[in-house]
Every structure is written in structure tokens, then in C-alpha cells.
Symmetry: D2
């Protein structure tokens, strides 16, 4: 394990000296304020240890990384009937495009584009008030990370709501097809709050560990999802986790992963590790620029690519 720590330290050092860090997301003011000079990485291992480097203890807005966890939660509640509402194919289009949604009668292509995650939020809402559903998601994150300090950044949630026309458009559109069934402001309330969850790399790597361990969380000795379902969530992450840069991420990194516009990425090396990386600057398709580069170096040096060593 000395080797892994050494690699993480090298990667953090390389990130620190990088000049071209991408652009911090501008679409909501709260995200635009974040200092782009930050970089953190954490790796959680099946034996329970978590190695880290850089700003791994600094919290950030997990944004779309939350979609992996709400999918896991919804699958646990609803089982495979979820797939009648949401597909499992890559979208081949920018993340907030409405075009395919129209062609496919309001059924989002996968749960990791915005429309798909909103449809999943609608499912989690069933039988609940928005406040309860949000509480359930936060408790799920705390349980997975084994850390009760995970919270929602209410300023980010408010900022999302104030700039949420594009997502409101998607939600109303799906509601006209019956894919969204609750009032749009309820569904978006859940969705904007899940995106506003703040975590650090250590917490996020721990929270994703069940996906590397056949659905089992070794930190809490609990089975989160079946092994079968963990494999499938990983498959969807690989295919769809990075919007229209999913192919590029598979090509360069070779691991299932999910990015968020807050600059965080969760990546899974099945059987080996759960990795969280964070750097706020984004590339042109909206994925963390240094985060992607760090994961590429990590899988190369550790020979962790699922596509062969």
C-alpha cells in the first residue's frame, strides 16, 4: 500500500503545479465562488482503510455525483420496475438536452442525465413530503459514508432553485408524458437538495465503497445492494457517467465513474477500490479537468483499468 500512497502523493503534487485547471462552473453563483486552486483525492479500500492526498478533507458540492446514490436508493425501494421510467443507454447529447426526451416520449435515456435523475427523484418522493424524501437521501449518504456530518448546503440549494429554469422545463416536459407524477416544485425541491449535498473526498470515497465490494459496505458490514445490482450500477456509470464525455473517460481512465459540476468525480475499480477526486475547474463537456487527469494517471500507474492491465 506504500505504492498507492506514493502514487496519490505524486498525483496531488502534479495537480498542484498544473496551470491549466479548467473553468469553475458559472451557472449558479454559489459554485462560481469556489477557489479553483484546490485538489483532493481519496481512495477507500475493501479492508476499510482510506488513503488520501491534497485537499481530501475539504467539502464540496457533490452535485451530479449524487445521482449514483439516489439511483441506488431508488433501486432498493422499487427494484427493476424503475427501468420502466428511465432507460440505460448513453445519450449522445449534451446533458440538458430535451431533444431525445421528445423523441423517446418523455422517458429519459439513463438515470445520470438531468432528466433521468429528476425522474428518479420523482420515484423517491412517492408517498412522501419533499422534506421527508430529502431527509431520506441525506440519511442514506450518512449511512454509506458512516459519517453523520454529511449535510446539505442550503445556499447552494437555494441558488440552484433560483436558476432552475432548464430543469423545471425538463420536469414539466416529463410530467406531460407521465414520467414525472408529483408537482414539479416538489420534485425539483428533492433534486436541487440532493445536488447540494456537501461532502469531502474521504466521505465520498467511503460512500461509494459498496460499489467496489459486490454491494457490501465493509465499513458498516451492511449489504447496500445485491452484488448483481452493484455490477449493473457500475455498468451504467461507465456508459453514462460523464455526459457527452463518457466515451473519452472510458477511453482514458477505464473505470466506471460519475462526475458533478462541483468538480467531484467518484470512480470505482471493481473489487479493488472506491476513488473520490475533486478539483473545481471543468473541461469543455463539464467534467473536472484535473480530476479526470488524476484518475487517468492513477489507473495507469496502478494498472486498475477494467479494460486490461
Amino acid at each position: 500500500m506504500d505504492r498507492l500512497q506514493q502514487v496519490l502523493d505524486e498525483i496531488a503534487a502534479e495537480a498542484a503545479s498544473e496551470d491549466d485547471r479548467g473553468l469553475v462552473a458559472q451557472y449558479i453563483p454559489e459554485l462560481a465562488k469556489v477557489d479553483p486552486q484546490q485538489f483532493g483525492i481519496a481512495v477507500a479500500l475493501p479492508d476499510g482503510r482510506v488513503l488520501c492526498a491534497g485537499d481530501a478533507a475539504t467539502g464540496f458540492s457533490i452535485q451530479s455525483v449524487s445521482k449514483v446514490f439516489t439511483l441506488s436508493l431508488a433501486l432498493g425501494k422499487l427494484g427493476d420496475s424503475l427501468w420502466t421510467r428511465v432507460g440505460r443507454e448513453p445519450s449522445g447529447n449534451p446533458f440538458n438536452s430535451i431533444v431525445q426526451l421528445e423523441q423517446e416520449k418523455g422517458r429519459p435515456r439513463n438515470p445520470f442525465i438531468n432528466a433521468g435523475a429528476i425522474a428518479v427523484a420523482d420515484l423517491i418522493l412517492s408517498g412522501h413530503e419533499p422534506r421527508e424524501a430529502i431527509g431520506e437521501i441525506v440519511r442514506f449518504m450518512r449511512y454509506l459514508a458512516d459519517d453523520d456530518s454529511v449535510v446539505i448546503d442550503e445556499r447552494v440549494a437555494a441558488s440552484e432553485t433560483a436558476h432552475g429554469d432548464r430543469n423545471a422545463s425538463l420536469a414539466h416536459f416529463m410530467r406531460s408524458f407521465g414520467t414525472v407524477t408529483h408537482p414539479v416544485d416538489h420534485v425539483l425541491g428533492v433534486y436541487f437538495h440532493q445536488c447540494a449535498i456537501a461532502m469531502n473526498c474521504l466521505q465520498l470515497a467511503r460512500a461509494g465503497l459498496f460499489l467496489a465490494c459486490q454491494g457490501h459496505n465493509p465499513l458498516t458490514s451492511s449489504q447496500v445492494v445485491t452484488a448483481h445490482r452493484a455490477r449493473r450500477i457500475n455498468a451504467i456509470m461507465l456508459m453514462c457517467g460523464h455526459y457527452d464525455g463518457s466515451g473519452e473517460f472510458a477511453y482514458r481512465v477505464g473505470l466506471p465513474g460519475k462526475s458533478g459540476v462541483g468538480g467531484g468525480i467518484l470512480a470505482i475499480a471493481p473489487g479493488i477500490a472506491s476513488i473520490a477526486v475533486w478539483s473545481p475547474g471543468l473541461d469543455t463537456v463539464g467534467n473536472s479537468k484535473l480530476g479526470s487527469a488524476a484518475l487517468e494517471q492513477l489507473t495507469k500507474r496502478m494498472e486498475w483499468s477494467v479494460f486490461g492491465s
Copy 2:
């Protein structure tokens, strides 16, 4: 290895008793004639052994499975400059759609949709007559399979040509953008002949073995591509190998794979095996119905999914 042979025999037996076999491709007469009752599977291993079951020695038209090999050949000749002509993202659209090609200025999304493979054929043609380029592809297949009996089925090639308007449309369209640079009938001559290569499962599994072995073909002790490039070809197969069913294949099978409308599929378990399966009946998105099901069973029983055991 007894275990693997036993699993293959079980799978072949299950396939033999299956009633719902999908529909044989109808778009060219030569393919429509094939008997749907056939099923074969072969697994080539890094130690050089090839295990098989069912009709593994019966030849079939490899069709789009050839795209994996022409990509490998073109990368060897041109290196990464190939990617200026062709992308690496899933298409999210039926396989012969022209829509995205227009939006993206004539650059196909990936080398495994028809447009992308035609663009690769154009690159292989550079400096050659069509006859020479076709010869080069056939020699490459013989070299990979270590078998000089691999040939082109000229009746299939002629049948493709006679029904090739959709591909001619794609080729002319790309030529208007400069993605195709040779005369369209030359490029399609190469493309239709590569699709008309006839192989059996044994040959195909052997030909793909370099992708499971870090680019090295243990049968011939030759390095076909670098380890780095083999990983990347696998990544593209996983993302884009099954048209608009790529997500479903990743979800169910969990291996890089490439299908053809002749009913063949090549799948790669990195470090473990190269698998060829064939059954002529197709599902609604154009992939072998029994072939996909067989691979799902194989990876499940052998725990070969790249997404975790």
C-alpha cells in the same frame, strides 16, 4: 478449465432448446437465407487453448465485427491521428442514422457505427487500390486467426453492394465534409468486402485474443498493438459495440463486445479470454439474440464481468 467447458456445453444446450431465436437479418438476400437454428460459441485463452461448443466450426458473415479489426489495422498504420476523422463517443441513435453526422460536421461519433467504419475504410485505402486494401484486411484477419482459410464471401459482398444505398448516402455525405476522401465506390468496395469476410467462432475467438492479452497474440507470439491501445479498443467496444443496445449489453454482459448483423459477437474478458459467439437471429436493435443471452450466462457463471464478480 473443465468448469469452462461444462459452462459452454450448458449454454449451447440451452440455446438449442430456445424457441424465441429472434429474426435473421433481412436487408440483404444472402443473409436472409441463413438457417436460424444454428448456435456456436468458442473461447480462446491466453495459454493458446480454444474451447468451444455447438456450431463453432460453421462459418458465418462477420459483418460489423470486422470493424474492430479494421480499427486495429488503421490505428497501426496511422496512430492516433485517426481520431481527427472519427470520434469515440456513443451515438445514442440507431446505427445508420445520419442526423448526428450532420450536427457534427461529417465526423462520425465512433468507429463502430457504419459511418465511422466507412471513414476508417477510407483511411485504410490511402495510397492503395481497393483490391489491395481488401487484400490487406484479409491478410490481417488470417494473421490474427493464424489461419489462412479465412476468405471473403463474394456473394455476400455483391449482395451488400446491390443494397448499399444507405451506406452510399453516408459515404457521399462524409465526402461532402472531407471525412471521406476517395471515390465513394472505392471506399464502399473496401467496406462491403470487409463485412463479407466469413469466419467461424473458432477463428474469430482466436483473431480477437490479442485484445484480451495486452495487445499480444499468444498464438503467434506477435505484438499486434500496444497494451495501451488494446485497452482503448476494448473501451470503445464496451461503449459503442452494440449500436443503440450498447448500454443494455454492458448492463447485462459486462464485457467489451462487438456485434454484427450476421449474428456474430466478439467479446473480450481482459486478461482472461476472447469469446466468439454466433446465432443468426437478431433482437430488435440488431444484435444476436441468443448470442447476447449466451454471453450474459457465460459472464455470470464464470464471474467475468469487468464490473465486479
Copy 3:
């Protein structure tokens, strides 16, 4: 003029005996209740006379026919700066499609598709409360029809609101681009109320007369818009007035016209007449089936087509 009355009577008699009357709009309950056996027609002439036949005095929901009048009102208030928000080209797509709106950065193709009319409603709202803007529209209709009995059917407005997800999606989408600037519920409040205006054929034919008379309303001796602007509104009606059936309407009827899903159509024979026709059953693209047929007969028998006698 005996001739015109005779033609109207013939057309009303033919309509009464027609069995295939199309389908009444089902998307909101209030419209679905309307009796399909009704048919009315009224023709207002520059000399102030109005001839009619059938149920010309029965009120109906004018729905999208209102878009002609809100465009006229907004042009009067804003002048040609309106065209920075809305285009003037036919859409070539079903009326509530979002696809083109995305391609064209939130600027609707024309003021007669739903998105365009919502953008116009946003302009009319400027500096007003929704209630005031709605009042202004109703007063404009009363002024044009020279009849203070024109009212809004509040049940229809409420029904539209309750089933307005598709329009809410469009409005939020345009708001994300800045084409809509007010709160979406305000804009839709105006839009749904303008659609819920109830008028009969006599009133509607009178209200449209200024478009046949160089912008001048002979009933009230007032200049509503300039002659130049009246011509242009007519041009847009001809190009865009019948959704994806605009070409068919131009081909068959040969007059500028605007239809609504309530079954009403306003058509203008420049210099000759303003025609309102109504029958609730719709054809497959959403235009009044008997209304279109009646106008085709009227222009044929009276030789009123703008494309030649």
C-alpha cells in the same frame, strides 16, 4: 352579395350533412365536452356588413386564433423590436415541439407556435400585473369586434392551467435563454387566459376585419395597425397559421388563416373579407376539419384565393 349569402348557405348545408367531422380536442376536459355537430361561418366585409350561416352566433373558445390578436397588440406596443425575440419562419414541426427551440437558442420560429405566443405574452406583460395584461387583451378584442360582450371562459382557463405542463416546459425553457423574462406562472396566466377567450363567428370575423382592410377597422373607423403591418401579419398567418398543416391550408384554401384547437379559424381575403368559421372536430394536425373544408369551398366558389382566380 346575394351570391355570397347563397354560397355560405350551401356550405353550411353541406357541413350539416357531413358524417366525418374529425375529433374534438381531448387535451383539456372543457374542450372535450363540446358538441361536434356544430358549424358556423361569418364573413365581415369592408362595407361593414357581416353575412353568416349555421351556428355563427354560438360562442366557442378561440384558443390559438388569439395569437393573431396578441401579435397585433404587441406590435402596436413594441414595434419591430418584437422580432428580436420571435422569428417569422414556418416551423416544419408539430406545434409544441421543443427541438427547434433548442437548436435556435430559445428564440421561437414564429409567433403562432405555442412557444412564440408565450414569448409574445411575456412582452405584453412588461410593466403590468398578469391581471392587467389579461384585461388589456380582452379590451383589445372588444374594441376590434366592437362588442363588449366578449369574455374569458374561466373554466377553460382553469382547465388549461391544470393541464399546462407542456407549455410550462416551453416557458421555463425560453426563460433559461432569456426569451421569457417574467415569472413563468405570470406569463402562462396571461397565455392561458387569452386562449380561453370565448367568441362567436360574428364577433371573430368583425375582430379580424382590420387585416382585410389595410389595418383599418371600418366598423369603428379606427386604424388598428399600419397597412404595412397588416400585410405582414397576413404573410405570417399564411406561412405559419396552421402548424404543420400550413402548407396544406395554403395549397387548398389559398388565404392567410389562423386556426385554434377549439375548432375556430380566422381567414383573411385581403381587400375583400374577414372570415370566421367554426366546427369543433379537428383533423390529424389539429385544425378544424369542417372549417378547413368550408374555407376551401368558399375561396373556390368566390374565387378569393390570393394565388389566382
Copy 4:
């Protein structure tokens, strides 16, 4: 008539002094060579007189203006069964887009986009060799213009063929749907030759006169098409004659018209005149810049708009 001649002279004088003349079409070398300083206009009247100004006797490539005449010819041969192959709705998309063609199963939206005109050329070919079909079209143009000097510019035809990939793509695409039934090189042979017909404004205005005169050509006292059909061709010209600038042309000019990338426009004032205008520089959507402006002035000064004086 002094008034009309005076207006034409004014317009020609204004055109001569205009600095911003647009850009000459660059896509084929033969067109790119044309001097942009030219401008001509001719107006043919029902009484047989033709008034003109500027370079009205200079020949130019009529390009897409030919589509009006091949439609007229094909309707005469086939009648309304033509409409099973081609639609009558505006396309709402750039002129050579393939997207809608895919959505609508290979049936072009209207006969004035390239795909539609190619489908019409396929119909004219029925039972003929390409050479015969081309001969028939040229004879039709001579008959309409009452002038046997109309010829095809073979250099332009050759240049179109050499740069015809986009049209070849459309033709193969439609052939895959059965909309095109002859070999693609035959159909394009006809299409490229019809586009390469060279005429001057005088000839073109005379050739279009039947559309202003209820289908009757007063120059030759022959009925070219029925009055009914002439009206309908005018309707399609108004809706679809200027690609994605059709709405703008209707809005500004207010007449049925058809433009070509050679800089020519034919416009029809039903019952009044057939107008041909030519200036090689194009606006951003591919229509003659000075030609459109000249027609706008002509209809304004003569009060010829179909949308009201």
C-alpha cells in the same frame, strides 16, 4: 404602363449603386466566377408585353428556379399521384438538411428543397433514358419561354456533378426508402442538367407567365396546366420557395417566388405579372440579396403584394 417601366428603371438604378451585394455562390467553381456587379429584371404581362431593366438580356444559371418548371412538368405527366412521393409543407431547415428526410421516412417535405426536386427528377425519368428526360425538360422551357435559344450550360452541369456529394447522399438516402427508383447517377444526371439551364430575365419572366394567368400562356395561347394547378403551384412557391428564408420573403415581398443559387428569382403576382430578377450575390440563407430587395421595392411601389395593398 409608363409607371411600371419607371419603377423598374428606378430599381435597376438603385441596384447599380448598391455596395453590399452579398456573396456569389462558391460551392461550384463555375458559379463562383460570375461577376457580382450584374443586375437584371424583367416583367412579363398577361397582354404579352415584357418590360425590363438592367442586365435583363444576360444569361445566368437558373439553378433551383428550374424546380418550379420540373414540378409543373411532372404534375402534367403524373397528376396528383406525385404527392405520394413529395410533401407540400415548408421544411423549417437549411436547404440540404437530411434530418427531416430521415424523420419522415425518405419523403421530402416539398418539391423545392433539393431532396424534393431530386424525387421529382426521378419521376420525370420514368420510362426514359436520362438524355431523353433532359431533352424533355429543355423543350418544355423553350416552349414556355417561346424561345428556342434556351440551352444547358454543360460546364455548369459538369461542375455540379463533380461537387455533387451532398445531393448524391440525398439521392441514395431516398433510394433506400424507395422515393428514388432509378440509378442515382441517372437521377442526378437529370437534376444537375436542369439546374444548369441558362436563361436571361426576359426568357424566365416569359416562361413563368402561365402561373400568373390561370395556367394559360398568353404568348403561345396554350394551356400549360389547369387554373387550379397554377394556384397550387403558386401556393407552394410562397410557402417553400426560399428555403429557410421563405417566411422572410413572404413577409417582405408578399409574392409566390422561387430562388436559385445562381442569383435568379422568379416571382408571380397572380393575375398581374410574372417577374424575373437576377443578381449573383446571395444573402446568408442563399437567396439573391439585390434580387430580394428589388422585389420588395417592386411590390411595395406597385402594390402587388397578395397580402393587401
